[in-house]
Amino acid sequence: MRRVAVIGDKDSIYGFSALGLDIYPISNNLEGERELKKIILKNSYAVIYITEALAQNLKGHIDIFQKENEVSIVPIPGLFGNNGIGMKNVVGFVKKAVGTELDLNANN
């Protein structure tokens, strides 16, 4: 049985605790990095949602964790500091696989 974690600034994530997800409120990037490492080491989470503002700052770490662990780290928009990194990641996947960017909106 694995669980779901949410990490980010408190105001953006406290609502998720009502749904039964584990929340890890942090106040700065350094604390975020430490907390994320701790969560990953616990190895009891299958999914970690992370606010976009924090994801942007910990991008290097997240890429390594995604590669080495079975955990899925997903950026979600927070209350502030949204930078569209989630959507950028999707474009990044396409770029990596196809070798070029594809206009996925072409037939929408």
């Binding site: 049985m1 694995r2 669980r3 779901v4 105001d11 953006s12 406290y14 609502g15 998720f16 605790s17 009502a18 749904l19 039964g20 997800l21 299958a46 999914v47 949602y49 995604q66 590669k67 079975e70 899925s72 997903v74 979600i76 928009p77 927070g78 209350l79 949204n82 989630g86 959507m87 990641n89 999707v90 996947f93 396409v94 990596k96 696989a97 196809v98 070798g99 996925l104």
Partner: protein
């Protein structure tokens, strides 16, 4: 061309011919694997994009509600109201094989099945914005988990496609042409040897005839 460091013998020729057959077969198989993975990847990425749009809209809506609730309610009440959640989500993880890439799939289990259990507080002291936001998050949760599955699958597939692509290119542009060139080199050497043996024999025969 690779440095020719092989002895031009028939044994080497047979070995190289076998190698060429294997390389061609491997190349074809890997190319097919890559094409199929790419097809699956493109469907997944479309799904991923649609899901992400949906989830982001819902979360942004919920966040607006939380801000309003925070403005309306005293922070002590707000902190206490969500301190002890009634609901608990856990996931059963199993793996699906897409072209030898293991992608995770989740089976969601909740502690209680009552949908009302997402409100662990009294309605008297909290704002209705909080209820709306939590309801909106609750409704989007299945899609959020699906998004997590989808993103991980896309990540893994993109990685595998990149690797396969590199292998296909290595076979197509290095291994197969090099082997072909080596085979040509050995065949020419052997032919040359044969010709020189024939000429030598003729010469010897001629010499023998003239002495007698």
């Amino acid at each position: 061309m690779a440095n020719i460091m092989i002895t031009p013998t028939r044994m080497e020729l047979t070995r190289l011919k076998k190698k060429l057959v294997t390389a061609r077969r491997g190349h074809k198989l890997l190319k097919d694997k890559r094409d199929e993975m790419m097809r699956q990847f493109l469907t997944l990425i479309e799904e991923n994009k649609a899901l992400r749009k949906k989830v982001e809209t819902a979360i942004i809506f919920a966040n607006q509600g939380f801000s309003l609730a925070k403005a309306e309610t005293r922070s002590e009440f707000l902190n206490v109201s969500l301190m002890v959640p009634k609901q608990e989500v856990s996931l059963d993880v199993y793996y699906k094989n897409i072209m030898s890439v293991n992608v995770p799939k989740f089976k969601v289990k909740t502690r209680t099945h009552e949908p009302g259990d997402i409100y662990p507080y009294s309605f008297a002291t909290t704002s209705s914005f909080l209820d709306d936001s939590i309801k909106s998050l609750f409704n989007i949760l299945p899609d959020m988990l699906h998004l997590a599955e989808c993103e991980k699958a896309c990540w893994l597939l993109a990685d595998e496609i990149e690797k396969t692509n590199r292998r296909v290119n290595a076979l197509e542009y290095t291994v197969i042409p090099d082997t072909l060139q080596l085979i040509k080199y050995i065949t020419m050497k052997i032919d040359e040897n044969e010709r020189s043996t024939a000429v030598r024999l003729m010469k010897v025969k001629e010499m023998l005839l003239t002495t007698n």
